[in-house]
């Protein structure tokens, strides 16, 4: 048992796929009138393409790829601000690797690094804190981004820095939360979604109750899912069964990792360090109320926005995206990635124009990498 291989068993997969085909049929969904299921999380988008699940499931079932890829939804203005901090004298900017190539208005972090800024990739915010210990004469900033899965790690690192009084360390906080954009999508009058596959790793922190509103207020099913192919298929089956039976519930397929109430230690650390922002900008989706967090005044000494005087409310904000980029339409499920005029031309994983092409969790990169283009053309 290693809790991965068991969830890739081909015999079981055949069984679940047959059941998915059966239930899709019972719902009466067809290629012309498909049932639309959104996988919220970029990790799920990646897994769907990596394992070709979209090719194995019946034509009456269509996946809509949700906004749950943190680097994909990071607005250009935040990259600009990160570059601005990184270019200050004495600063060491630290970041997860996948943020390096996200385009900003002026440049990406990788371009800033080529231009001489001291930008380093780290695996963990704890490594950034360690760097601050080793370089007391420098200002070490960690580019904190990610959903609820990652927010506790920066909260705990800030708490550690505070306990150690490590004052040459700070976090440029871009952490965001999953439920508000889902609500925004559900409020969109053009919304076509019939159900959701919920983000498993976010849920191991926040639990399953924050999704209650999806079932209760909008009458849509949601099943919190793991990341192995069988996890995903079983979750899709559970969503379809709810649709067939006319139920709208929050179910938990990933109970081996996700306790219904989440992780209390992580939640307490986040509540101690962070408070909601009135609103936060999402690339392609615009400003969404209470969808991001910022560092509380009590921890201002570790807040890069305070320390360097950049960020929300400090100067004009540019929200424009590059010309011809349809990231927003892809993200809301209005078009498939290859329908964007830039797809594979002006925009490739090597030279991304839009952020959905940057991370392997982005819908455009997944399409590009795993031949979604060829498949769609063949149809």
């Amino acid at each position: 048992m290693n809790y991965a291989d068991e969830f890739r068993d081909p015999v079981a997969a055949r069984g679940v796929l047959a059941a998915i085909a059966r239930v899709t049929d019972e719902i009466g969904a067809t290629k012309e009138k498909p049932v639309h299921i959104m996988e919220i999380c970029g990790g799920h988008t990646h897994a769907i393409f990596r394992y070709g699940l979209d090719k194995l499931t019946p034509p009456g079932l269509e996946f809509i790829h949700g906004p749950g890829c943190p680097v994909c939804v990071l607005p250009m203005s935040r990259i600009d601000e990160c570059v601005e901090i990184a270019e200050r004298p004495g600063v060491i900017m630290t970041t997860f690797g996948d943020a390096m190539r996200v385009p900003g208005h002026r440049k990406s972090l990788i371009q800033a690094k080529a231009d001489g800024a001291d930008i380093r990739m780290v695996y963990s915010p704890l490594d950034a804190l360690e760097l601050a210990r080793r370089h007391p004469d420098r200002e070490v900033v960690f580019f904190g981004l990610g959903f609820e899965t990652t927010t506790p790690s920066t909260a705990l690192t800030i708490l550690q820095a505070a306990a150690d009084n490590q004052t040459n360390f700070s976090v440029f906080c871009n952490h965001i939360t999953v439920p508000p954009p889902i609500k925004a999508l559900l409020d969109d009058p053009h919304m076509i979604l019939d159900g959701f596959v919920g983000p498993g790793h976010v849920s191991m922190v926040i639990g399953v109750r924050p999704y209650d509103f999806i079932a209760r207020d909008y009458g849509k099913p949601i099943v919190v899912a793991g990341f192995e192919p069988l996890d995903l298929l079983q979750s899709v089956l559970m969503v379809l069964e709810q649709i067939r039976d006319g139920r709208a519930e929050v179910e938990n397929q990933y109970s081996r990792v996700v306790p219904d109430d989440g992780n209390p230690v992580s939640l307490a650390a986040c509540a101690e360090v962070y408070e909601p922002r009135p609103s936060f900008e999402w690339r392609g989706l615009g400003e969404i109320d209470a969808s991001g967090v910022r560092i509380r005044p009590a921890y201002a000494a570790w807040d890069a926005e305070v320390k360097f005087g950049v960020g929300y409310g400090k100067g004009p904000r540019m929200v424009a995206e590059p010309d011809g980029c349809r990231c927003g339409d892809v993200m809301t499920g209005r078009i498939k990635p290859h329908a964007c005029p830039q797809f594979g031309k002006g925009c490739t994983p090597e030279m991304p124009l839009g952020a959905l092409m940057v991370s392997s969790e982005g819908a455009c990169a997944a399409y590009y990498q795993y031949g979604g283009l060829r498949l769609e053309e063949a149809l």
Binding site: D9, A18, P152
Partner: protein, 71 residues
């Protein structure tokens, strides 16, 4: 194979000594152990999946048999 690395286990420790974690599986994310794998829940999920798989094998065998008899 694999990687050795120090991880922070604050999030998964209940009221117990750290040794209680030895031999357990956890989900690690950016240097932090975020969730302990619940082995009973894993077994339950796998049971459901196996049953679906076995049922399908049986259905396919029945269908093959029917086709054979019909031909």
């Amino acid at each position: 194979m694999g990687v050795r690395r120090q991880v922070n286990v604050a999030c998964i420790l209940k009221d117990e000594p750290i040794e209680a974690l030895i031999g357990t599986w956890s989900l690690i994310h950016v240097g932090f152990a975020m969730s302990r794998i619940n082995e009973e829940e894993a077994a339950l999920t796998l049971d459901v999946l196996r049953q679906l798989g076995e049922a399908q094998v049986e259905i396919e065998a029945m269908q093959a048999s029917e086709r054979m008899l019909a031909s």
